[in-house]
Symmetry: C2
Subunit: 499 residues, 2 copies
């Protein structure tokens, strides 16, 4: 999902200066508190060449007490390091209690540049991810706060910065041949970076992706992330030390200045103006629906199960879209499962239990009209589960889908995206059309009021659960016709790829 | 370590009946409490054919309220199950809150009989272990108490029971051709069972190995394990519900009737009478020490690091043993690291940090005189770390050693075993020999008083950290000469295997 991130976000100079003055003071305070509480902190900075890691770290250490931190730059292995397991050089640098270790590049080097240079693949890359996860988990279990940042810039921005550096004789040396080589391999690096984040984004050591095209935006986002995380960790440590009452720790309700300005956004980056002519629609609809019928038969003979997930805004057109998928299918081969709030029996089990129950038989298609993603959408926004619960759900969901895929299933996930105006128009149309009034409830209007919070949740979901093998497809749905054709086409392509 | 377990332990009928009367009442009470607290419980029984799983489960459910549990027997897949991912049939059977699900055979079938029948190896078995671990972790995170029992009997005992069943017409049908086939493959099954336990023994879903040769012993051990685990879980749940004070939860200090009778024992099973003549000793010592010198050179040219760990009782002869290993070596190629209590700097880091620091360069040998295993021995027994900390250390240690081995290291671990009388004799000799008096301190005498607790800790350690790739070697050390030769031989064999 890196490529879909909105890199155009900016913060104005005046606003930046006001916010940063606050954030610097806050960060200094938190360092002192963490020191008193003996909390060790590890900050990892990875990112593209010329994405500004060095500058960010410089800004970061300005407000810190210099006796309390170390900055380590990770580069080629030296002689001593080559003769030890790859995590050795990081183990020996883990911070003492109360200190901060800042890594400019890190153990992730092995999953990025070394992966490509030394062709680390298959079991070797798999065990590298496992080693990294156990390294971070062991340190976290021992009380370390671990935060990881990936500074993301676009290919164009990187080129622009390289050229700028080269144009100045005093900085030209900073751009190497290797840098240009990596620039050429940008798309390849995107892919392995996404995989790295997917495999190592853990609740105990989360990645934060920093949109780095605007340096001020990046800086505010790094500062606010660190401050919010530290504040939570420090509160948790304090509560544990005194009379603990777990509930409040888990709410993660701390806030800080500027926090609202630096949300990751995929959805705001979507071009919703795309559409399709009625003729093209009719023609393609017929063609694809016929194709679906053939494919359904093929799936059955080959015993391939298919799971299709529909998520999206109220009135985004999920129902109509699903109808177009199934219209021409043999009803014995598919099932549509609408997901509402769990009933009493479902509530007495693990939240994934009811979805496991509905897993299609090999050779069948199950379409979920809303799904397990409710855990990180409605349940998160409405507070039906705790911060800890929805936060760990990303991993649980990725694991479940991975198991489906390992069994041979095709997993297709749609997010139907419309904008707020389009939703309003559709709500009003429903209100004013007698036969559609059943489709609109007070709850829909209430949810609409929480648009921004649902959008945050959806963005996080898209970033954290769009995996290599089970990616999300965002469907531009302001045009219903466009939306239906794109969904049909995506289903057909995914299944044909499998077949 | 399964083969080394002491299967000769028995409980007398009268004692058994007294204890069981208590345990049954206790178990019934705990079921009711768990129900009130809405805690779901999963009990898994795996084990050899004719190990008595069925009988055990029958005994187990007698004191339970029949409205509160289900028993599931896992056998060949039915049509419906074949068409779903392998965990599907277990997901749909996960217990509702407050209920108990008992599995006679389980998802582990796939790592045992199905593994051999369908030749599941390589990446497939690896991902099976991963899927199982995430399944159990997800359920545990959601509040499930998961306990897993492996009922272990000897090959001879299995044969005896099969023949007994066959000799009676009414039970003869219970012994199948497959049973006899598996009996022939006993050693193969031992190996994959050990691997299964190694890969899936987690703090959130621990395995308990039940010595099953004596049915009464097995029954008491199953009951006490369940009772102790449940009591801890229920106390934890209660404390969490009220004003929680984490400390007491983590001490695991509950006890129950009969608990002391059913300890797993490897060490009590060791034949310490083995010895060696002085002539043989001299001859072999010379031979092996010369060999070591050659091997040291070989290691250096091949850049293989070697880690040797010495653990064992005070006065078991670690020092003299290490001396014989190194006597003939080039001192530039090895290092002996004596491990005492951590200093201030070491205490301010993760407990594994100082051992990572001492990892040998490729081509070198490091001998640890005591080691990271202090975490699960002295730190456990003396209460220097919490129950939670030493309990999670088994996994952390296994992970660290796995990383060493993946890097290409040879990891050799010795437990030097002597009995209590031999220790006393050596202590007294030290007291009475002026030049040896420095070797004996008040602390040694104090530790001696805690012999049984150290023995429990060592047994657990041997069971939980003897992995396929980094197994423990127990050295019978009542005879110092025997001990030294066995250690030298083991080191040479392990390194030659690698070379």
């Amino acid at each position: 999902m890196l490529s879909e991130l909105d890199l155009s976000q900016k913060i104005k100079k005046k606003e930046y200066e006001e916010i940063m003055a606050d954030l610097r003071i806050k960060l200094g305070e938190l360092q002192r508190e963490a020191k008193l509480l003996n909390i060790p902190i590890m900050l990892v900075f990875e990112g593209w060449g010329a994405s500004g890691k060095g500058t960010l770290i410089n800004e970061l250490i300005l407000p810190l007490d210099p006796r309390g931190f170390n900055v380590y730059t990770t580069n080629y292995l030296n002689q001593d390091e080559m003769m030890r397991p790859f995590l050795w050089r990081f183990w020996v640098k883990t911070p003492a209690k109360g200190r901060i270790a800042i890594f400019e590049k890190s153990w992730y080097r092995r999953t990025l540049v070394e992966r490509i240079d030394n062709d680390i693949e298959g079991n070797e890359i798999k065990s590298t991810f496992e080693d990294i996860n156990s390294f971070e988990r062991q340190l976290s279990d021992d009380g370390n706060i671990i935060m990881k940042f990936f500074i993301h810039i676009s290919k164009e921005k990187q080129k622009e910065r390289f050229l700028e550096l080269e144009s100045n004789p005093s900085t030209a040396w900073r751009v190497t041949k290797d840098d240009w080589k990596h620039h050429e391999q940008y798309e390849k690096y995107i892919k392995i970076t996404e995989e790295m984040i997917e495999k190592t984004d853990k609740d105990y050591a989360p990645w934060t992706i920093i949109e780095g095209n605007d340096r001020k935006f990046a800086e505010v986002k790094v500062f606010t992330s660190i401050i919010l995380n530290l504040e939570n960790a420090i509160n948790a440590a304090k509560e544990k030390a005194e009379a603990p009452s777990t509930s409040s720790i888990l709410q993660n309700n701390t806030q800080c200045n500027g926090d609202n300005l630096v949300k990751s956004s995929i959805l705001r980056n979507i071009d919703l103006s795309v559409s399709i002519s009625k003729e093209e629609y009719k023609e393609k609809l017929k063609k694809y629906q016929n194709k679906m019928r053939v494919i359904e038969h093929e799936l059955y003979t080959r015993r391939i199960p298919v799971v299709i997930v529909y998520e999206g805004w109220d009135a985004a057109g999920k129902g109509g879209n699903i109808k177009r998928i199934t219209e021409n299918l043999d009803p014995r081969g598919y099932q549509v499962v609408p997901i509402a709030a769990p009933n009493v029996v479902e509530k007495s089990h693990h939240y994934l239990w009811r979805f496991w129950n509905e897993f299609p038989k090999a050779g069948h298609i199950t379409i979920f009209d809303r799904s397990w993603y409710g855990r990180v959408l409605v349940e998160r926004v409405e507070g039906f589960c705790s911060y800890e619960e929805w936060n760990r759900a990303y991993k649980e969901i990725n694991e479940m889908e991975e198991q489906f895929i390992n069994f041979g299933a095709v997993v297709i996930k749609f997010w139907l995206q419309i904008d707020k105006d389009e939703q309003l128009a559709r709500f009003n149309e429903r209100m004013n059309t007698p036969e559609k009034q059943w489709k609109i409830t007070d709850e829909d209007w209430r949810n609409r009021e929480k648009w921004e919070r649902y959008e945050d949740a959806a963005n996080d979901m898209l970033i954290k659960t769009s995996t290599t093998r089970a990616p999300w497809t965002i469907i531009e749905s302001n045009s219903k016709m466009y939306s239906r054709i794109k969904a049909l086409k995506t289903v057909i392509d995914a299944i044909e790829k499998k077949i």
